[in-house]
Symmetry: C2
Subunit: 361 residues, 2 copies
Amino acid sequence: MTKRVHNFCAGPCTLPLSVLEEVRDEFVNYRDEGMSLIEMSHRAKAYDQVHQEAMGLALEVFEVPDDFGVMFIQGGATLQFAMVPLNLLRTGQSGGYVNSGAWGKGAITDATPHGDIYVAWDGADINFARMPQVDEINIEPNTRYLHVTSNETIGGVRMVDWPDVGVPLIADMSSDYMSRAIPWDKFDLVYGGVQKNLGPAGMAIVFIRKSILDDSNKDLARYLRYDIHLDKDSLFNTPPVFTIYLVGKVLKWMKAKGGLSVIEKEAADKAAMVYGVIDKSDGYYSSPIEPEYRSHMNVVFRLSSEELEKKFLAEAEQADLVNLKGHRSVGGCRASIYNALPVESVKALVDFMTEFRDANG
Amino acid sequence: MTKRVHNFCAGPCTLPLSVLEEVRDEFVNYRDEGMSLIEMSHRAKAYDQVHQEAMGLALEVFEVPDDFGVMFIQGGATLQFAMVPLNLLRTGQSGGYVNSGAWGKGAITDATPHGDIYVAWDGADINFARMPQVDEINIEPNTRYLHVTSNETIGGVRMVDWPDVGVPLIADMSSDYMSRAIPWDKFDLVYGGVQKNLGPAGMAIVFIRKSILDDSNKDLARYLRYDIHLDKDSLFNTPPVFTIYLVGKVLKWMKAKGGLSVIEKEAADKAAMVYGVIDKSDGYYSSPIEPEYRSHMNVVFRLSSEELEKKFLAEAEQADLVNLKGHRSVGGCRASIYNALPVESVKALVDFMTEFRDANG
């Protein structure tokens, strides 16, 4: 049997084993075409089927209404940090940003050279322990959009309610992408890198309200223009074929599992298992995040000392529970429990946490 | 045995079979890590080794001197069309562009919104049948660089001599990347998508003269900044792990073959085989490109009628010689004979061309 560890990596991370095996089996000679899929023209019939199917599944699985379109764009969420203001901020308009942690801050840093940007709420003062209440968000006049980060991968904090602030929302959903339903009427654009819940690194999926392209900036290189990517079905230039192919397979796996509502419930249940151990540990494990804002994807927790954390991580690795170390910028521990992480891996983790506490209490 | 056709696709295209088989064999459980390489953190030891090795090999195989650095950037050559002027054109400077065909024109189109751009030579009047002579290139005052396309994938025309025009050269080498030696002293920057000679689609490799970053534009989103990518060893954000891994394997294959000089000679020999059949056909096959400028990668040719071309393409496909159709914008036939296309495939093509002519003369 194939060796498989419990992989709690924050991304890239665990993908469904059945998908990996399928890819392996058809890798060298794709469906008897006499070549690998990655050797095929992106205009070939066999690839086009893969491409169109992946686009269709993205819209279907994420329950996206008809007035939105989908785009596959290289450069991850990070390039979207630039493309959002470049395309959407016109003269006299500004973009409001929620600073909810490392990724919210990244979006602000990268938007700043390309538009009139302001911080509509700043979580730094409360150490990013929660997301904003709606009445704490300060919207300035002439605001084109409010940019939010639905889930902070490093901080482990989650936006629970999407704020109604009188302007369209734009969300970076990279780290809880397609793990929760979206009220599309509140949004003009939703984006995320695929390398956590959806596939290998190398692409963002962007959903855009089609009507906003009437007024988007066209005075940009074509790769930076949403209208070009949408109009060309993400085939304006050579797309990242292998990534799209794999994302399509993961989406099919999600659909077969029962779709978004099943995935969303499973995510909540898996998260509750880990937070349950933390909360019942009498402070042996602790979460820096206020309970209602805790991420369903990235469970951040601490032990009483760095020394103990080191021991915890080393023994976890011995037990094939890997990548539980917190991000270098915050320390501690982090269990990333994305869609494809089996519930058995979460069980193995909570059992280990309980045993470790008993042995080192 | 694995079914394998002769694949003359213009890109993505043929990769070494041994590389594909290696990737398949280690795909699900990478070197007994208990996970696929694509499930691994881009900060993991096992991936870092892959990443550093690929960067090192890119510099080594392409014989790049120490004053240049290498970057892996998503978005293909097309995003580089924007990044070059965004980073390098400062106030009062302009960029000269050689319009040598579809890709030269693409570079011009995408640079125009982001800088003061002019056409230094235009091949449209001669139907792109050759590249410019050095004295035909018109360099304006305050020119920062001359941008050239080393090989036009669609037109099948090749820049043979790199023009000395008193300003640094920048080359898009996508379609003959790492198939020929580069006189680095003439260049400030060289880039190309990897999906032809080097790997699967989803990335450009950019070589940059490090000293020019002292004066590059820093007032850009970080993904668009060369200094950030170079400084962070192309790990500023999550890199396209699978693409880099595969490119590394192809570079290792190139090195084992004997390196750039062997590859360059083989490319010239393979091209000569096909042009030989064309030139000895008494006009049955014809090339629209002046002999000395003919591409070593994309051999474009016509038959006497579209009807005959259709028959040629259909019978070729029957003989497992696939993707010989010319680009939809120019019609005719095109044999792309990139580095990884075996000489046996070229032999099969020239035999087929000879037989077809004999049977349909």
